[in-house]
Assembly symmetry: C2
């Protein structure tokens, strides 16, 4: 068993004669990965969608960890991500918009902004790896209940 | 329906009172995402594993697209990825090792190296987004059949 605090391992295996892959980490259900037509067949997540899920779950984990240390009660927590692609190759994201939606009994936007800055600077490793290459904007939608 | 050549959209939703998320793109099975104990409960892929799957499927798609244009017959195609984390925050990958395993009737390592360079420089958008921040090494294991 890998010590995930030190190194992580994944495998992608081609499943057809086009671009459909199974993504795998031991102990988890495989992830269906594919590209859009005409090269692929839309049979799964695209590589760029996996990057968005990686970044948003990383930010979400950092924010929730901080919020719970502050004894905030979280009722719902969702992050919607949109990645805007460049028009010519490499068609990577020029900009990513993360929309954080939190339902809680008492959180301010100033608190969320401060925690997001801490995540960006120190606690979100995925954000660290795209630093300087992609603009990341974060918006907040706070629902007090 | 989003035009995926221009922008991509994903959502992560918190599923418990720890760090278990469901990752979603419309039309696909949800991906279970979680962090390792003590903060999480190992109920799914970690954010950093999703980054490895994103990068390796991106490289795989670029390589296969080139190989097919060269009329190469691909019998099996797998990429094993290992990400080596930094010891202090941000615990991002200092290095990623991608091991490409291809079974084919006739491919040389020189050909694969050249195509990998093209992917790195131009055709793999995920690699483009981590450029300068992470060392990516690629090895090849070619099985001629």
């Amino acid at each position: 068993m890998t010590d995930k605090s030190k190194e992580l391992k994944t495998t992608v295996t081609l499943m057809n004669n086009r671009l459909h892959f199974n993504g795998m980490v031991e102990g988890n259900a495989p992830i269906s990965i594919d590209y859009t037509p005409p090269l692929g067949d839309n049979l799964g997540y695209t590589s760029l969608e996996l990057l968005l899920l990686s970044l948003s779950s990383c930010l979400g984990s950092a924010l929730l960890t901080f919020l719970r240390r502050m004894d905030k009660h979280i009722i719902n927590f969702t992050i919607h991500s949109t990645g805007f692609r460049k028009e010519s190759h490499p068609t990577s994201f020029s900009r990513i918009l993360l929309e954080v939606e939190v339902t809680s009994s008492g959180i301010t936007e100033a608190e969320l902004k401060k925690l997001t800055r801490m995540a960006e600077e120190t606690y979100c490793p995925v954000w660290d790896m795209i630093r300087g290459n992609v603009t990341v904007d974060v918006n907040f939608n706070i629902i007090i209940r």
